[in-house]
């Protein structure tokens, strides 16, 4: 299911979004990117980013202060 993984742990805003943007650009439509982040800001930033860019945030979970986002490139 997951085509690529991106570890943004330890990064603060805006770096997770910057790295997600670069990675998604290099992927094919339909492919899924798994992102791990621990910046609390990413909790709202990633959904906002997905909403603006039209990429699909399929799933969002949290475990021990680490957020996991599953994004499908559209």
């Amino acid at each position: 299911m997951v085509d690529e993984k991106l570890d943004c742990k330890g990064m603060m805003c805006p770096m997770p979004i910057v790295h997600i943007t670069k990675r998604i650009k290099a992927m094919e439509p339909g492919q899924v990117l798994e992102v791990l982040a621990d910046d609390e800001g990413s909790l709202e930033d990633v959904p906002a980013w997905a909403g603006r860019t039209g990429n699909v945030l399929m799933e969002q979970t949290e475990e021990g202060g680490v957020y996991r986002f599953m994004i499908r490139k559209s």
Partner: protein, 139 residues
Amino acid sequence: MTGNDADDKVAIVVSEGSYDKAMASVFLGSTAAGLGMEVHLFFTFFGLELLKKDKRPKLKGMYRPFTGMFEKKMKGIGVESFQGMMDTCSELGVRLYACSTSMEAMGLKKEQLRDGVDVLGASKFLDIAAGSKVQLFIG
């Protein structure tokens, strides 16, 4: 990615060249570009200095000596250097403009500026800003 109507455009004026203003500019610029927006950054007065090749902005006043400490801290949380963030902005398609009057006033030539900078007057920038839903002033 989205089209280019006003909703998807951001016009930002940068009129100061200190480290904090510089970073705020590249953060907002790169993020907006990441959100799929068309971003226009207009550098004027002391902000123009930020377009100089290899420019390393410093914190203002009494905080100036702490710039290096701050840069190190930023690096620790994954943030690139100012030049690195400027490169990222360019990579993401952020348009960079130098104010023509400021260039003259500061005695700066286009050759001294980083690649990909366009020289612009206030009218053209305001024309762009008028067509942008988001307009910000960093100064």
